[in-house]
C-alpha cells in the first residue's frame, strides 16, 4: 500500500515537471523556420526583403493628408514608432462602439472613412497593404498578445469550428493539414503550422505583398472549397483563432514566403 502511494506520488511529480518542460520549450514553429536559408536571409535583410518596399511606401502614405477632413494618419497618431507599437500584435479587436471584431486592415479603413472622411481603400490594394505593412512592422519582434476581451470568445470559437470542419471537394479541414500533418510534405512543400506571424507577407509566387485573407483564400481554393467573399467575417474569425493559437510567438512582419 505504502509502495503504491509512493509510486503515485512519483508519477505526479514526473507529470508536473514534464508539463513545466513543455511550457519552457515552445515547440511551435513559425513558417519562417520551414523556409530554406536563402529565404530566411532575404526576410531578415531589410534591404533585400521586398516587403520593406511596401513598408517604405506605407510610411509615405502615413504622412499624406486624405479625405474631406484633410488629415493624415500622422496628424492624429503622430510617430507610428510609438503610437502603433504592439497594435498589430493584438488584432483582430472590437473597435469602440462596435460589436464585431475587425482585423488590422479593417481598422485602418475605419480610420479612412470615419476619421479622414475618405473612401475605403479596396482590399489587397497597394495602398492598403502598404499601410498595413507599415503599421504591422512597428510590432516586429513583439509577442502576439490577443486582447482579453470576453466578447471576442464567441467569434474565436466560430473560427476554431471552421478550422476543424472538413470542407471542399477534397473534404479536408485546416486542422488535418496544419495540426495533424504539419512538418510533412505536400508535393514539394513543407506544410507549415499556419501561424500568422509574418502578415502581410511578400510571397514570391504572388510577386507582391498579400494579406492573411489572401493566404487563407489560397488554402481554401487548394482544397477546392468556395472561398468566403472578400471581407467576409469568417476571415476575421479564423484570424482570431490563429492569433490565439500563436499567442506569445514573435511577430516578424513583413514576412517572406515562397
Amino acid at each position: 500500500m505504502r509502495a503504491l502511494h509512493f509510486g503515485i506520488g512519483l508519477a505526479i511529480i514526473f507529470a508536473a515537471s514534464w508539463a513545466a518542460a513543455q511550457v519552457g520549450a515552445d515547440k511551435r514553429r513559425s513558417g519562417t523556420q520551414d523556409m530554406g536559408e536563402a529565404l530566411q536571409k532575404m526576410q531578415d535583410d531589410d534591404t533585400a526583403n521586398p516587403g520593406m518596399l511596401f513598408v517604405q511606401l506605407g510610411s509615405q502614405s502615413w504622412a499624406k493628408k486624405a479625405g474631406t477632413a484633410d488629415k493624415s494618419c500622422a496628424d492624429c497618431h503622430g510617430n507610428a514608432g510609438t503610437s502603433m507599437k504592439g497594435v498589430a500584435a493584438r488584432y483582430p479587436a472590437i473597435p469602440k462602439g462596435a460589436e464585431a471584431p475587425v482585423d488590422l486592415d479593417g481598422r485602418i479603413n475605419l480610420c479612412r472613412t470615419e476619421n479622414q472622411k475618405a473612401e475605403r481603400l479596396p482590399p489587397e490594394s497597394r495602398e492598403l497593404l502598404a499601410l498595413e505593412a507599415y503599421v504591422a512592422h512597428q510590432s516586429r519582434g513583439l509577442p502576439i498578445a490577443p486582447p482579453a476581451d470576453p466578447r471576442l470568445d464567441a467569434f474565436r470559437d466560430q473560427g476554431a469550428a471552421i478550422y476543424r470542419a472538413r470542407q471542399g471537394q477534397l473534404n479536408l479541414s485546416c486542422a488535418i493539414c496544419h495540426d495533424d500533418n504539419a512538418g510533412r510534405k505536400l508535393a514539394g512543400v513543407t506544410i507549415p503550422e499556419a501561424h500568422p506571424t509574418g502578415y502581410p507577407i511578400y510571397r514570391l509566387e504572388w510577386q507582391t505583398l498579400g494579406s492573411l485573407k489572401r493566404r487563407l483564400r489560397n488554402c481554401l481554393v487548394g482544397i477546392r472549397a468556395e472561398p468566403y467573399a472578400s471581407e467576409a467575417p469568417e476571415y476575421v474569425m479564423l484570424e482570431l483563432f490563429l492569433m490565439d493559437r500563436a499567442k506569445g510567438m514573435v511577430l516578424e512582419a513583413p514576412g517572406v514566403r515562397p
Partner: protein, 106 residues
C-alpha cells in the same frame, strides 16, 4: 514615386571589393499576360540598370520580361577612390529612377 532600397557600405578600404545591392519597386509586367477582361496587359518592364562611380560606368545590365517584379540586383566593385555611386533604372512608359549613395574610401 520612386521606391528604392539600396545597401552599400558607407566606408571601404582602398582597393577592397565592395558589394552594392539595390531593390526597386516595379511590376515587371511581361506583356504576355491577359488581364481580367481577356486583353493582353501591355508590357511594362525595366529595360536597363546602370551604375556609375564618380561618373564612370561600373555596371550595366539589360533586363528582360522573364525577371520577376521588384527586381533585386547585387554587384561588386573595387573601391579605388571616395565618391558617389549613381544608380539608374530606365524602362517602358518613360520609367526613369535615379539614386545615389556616397562611399568614403580610406
Amino acid at each position: 514615386m520612386a521606391n528604392v532600397l539600396v545597401n552599400a557600405p558607407k566606408t571601404a578600404k582602398r582597393g577592397s571589393v565592395v558589394e552594392i545591392k539595390a531593390l526597386i519597386m516595379h511590376p515587371m509586367e511581361t506583356g504576355f499576360r491577359p488581364g481580367t477582361m481577356g486583353k493582353i496587359i501591355p508590357r511594362n518592364i525595366i529595360e536597363r540598370f546602370t551604375a556609375t562611380w564618380n561618373g564612370t560606368e561600373i555596371f550595366d545590365m539589360e533586363m528582360s520580361p522573364a525577371i520577376a517584379a521588384n527586381p533585386f540586383v547585387s554587384f561588386f566593385a573595387v573601391a579605388s577612390e571616395s565618391g558617389t555611386v549613381g544608380l539608374r533604372w530606365t524602362g517602358d512608359e518613360g520609367f526613369v529612377v535615379e539614386e545615389r549613395v556616397v562611399i568614403a574610401v580610406e
